[in-house]
Amino acid sequence: MINDIPLVYYLSLSAALFCVGLFGALARRNAIAVLMGIELMLNAVNINFVAFWRYGSVNPILNQAGIVFALFVITVAAAEAAVGLALVISIYRSRDTVNVEEIDLLKW
């Protein structure tokens, strides 16, 4: 199974997923859609961590740094989603929009 699929496949998939997520974060209007793009990017990074753990380390059983790092990324992503969505709901209450082009109070 591992022998049959080269590391390059996983890295390419991860790069593609990262680029799609980046496009979502840069080009969407809805603030929640921007957050979804960020989640896609974090997932792509996690695929890279796990792929390098499996293929890159000399002893993947004793050295699980890649998996531990992916776990931390998932935790921080959960925290980021909670705070981000709370901010979006708060903004929606006060300004009645979640369009990032209309939320420009800090723009000069």
């Binding site: 390419s12 996690n46 792929a51 499996r54 059983i61 699980q64 980021e80 989603a81």
Partner: protein, 166 residues
């Protein structure tokens, strides 16, 4: 290449195609609620990729936390900002064309680098259950980051509660 090899590759390409299709749907669908549902599909695809990489624990964590918590949280937020569930005239902002060009260039660059680097590969077989080793490592080598991330999670949940409260 033997039969198992061919099946493995076919399964990988199927899962990768489904994951990427769901990701594109997440980014391109106008209805934000449908985009959120496509995001769930992407998370499932990534969990399948983890299974192929023999990281079973992480695949379960992905389903439990990403789909069970984060995706549901996002869907709830979409429903709370309900006036946007109707279709917008366009889901994209003014800079989408420039973003597409720049990101295509970025992807091409990354792809070329990935193909050119001579990666060192270790494809030895993992014969045992690795979760006990993971637990030991989390509570010995990575004890301090583990505790810090717990405090971070607690702080952000309290902060989210205070921010979202009326």
């Amino acid at each position: 290449m033997d039969l198992i090899g061919i099946i493995s590759q076919v399964v990988f390409f199927l899962v990768a195609a489904l994951t990427l299709a769901a990701a594109f749907a997440t980014v391109l669908l106008r209805n934000v609620f449908h985009a959120g549902l496509a995001l769930v599909g992407t998370f499932f695809g990534v969990a399948a990729i983890y299974l192929m990489l023999e990281a079973e624990f992480l695949a379960i964590v992905q389903v439990l936390i990403y789909i069970g918590a984060i995706a549901v949280l996002i869907l709830f937020a979409i429903m709370l900002t309900r006036s946007l569930m109707k279709n917008e005239d366009s889901g994209m902002n003014k800079q989408w064309a420039w973003a597409a060009i720049a990101i295509s260039t970025l992807f091409l660059g990354m792809f070329i680098v990935i193909l050119q680097v001579p990666w060192l590969l270790n494809t030895s077989v993992i014969g045992t259950d690795i979760v006990p080793f993971l637990g030991t490592e989390l509570l010995t080598t990575y004890l301090l980051p583990f505790e810090i991330v717990s405090v971070l999670l607690l702080a952000t949940l309290i902060g989210a509660f205070i921010i979202a409260r009326e």
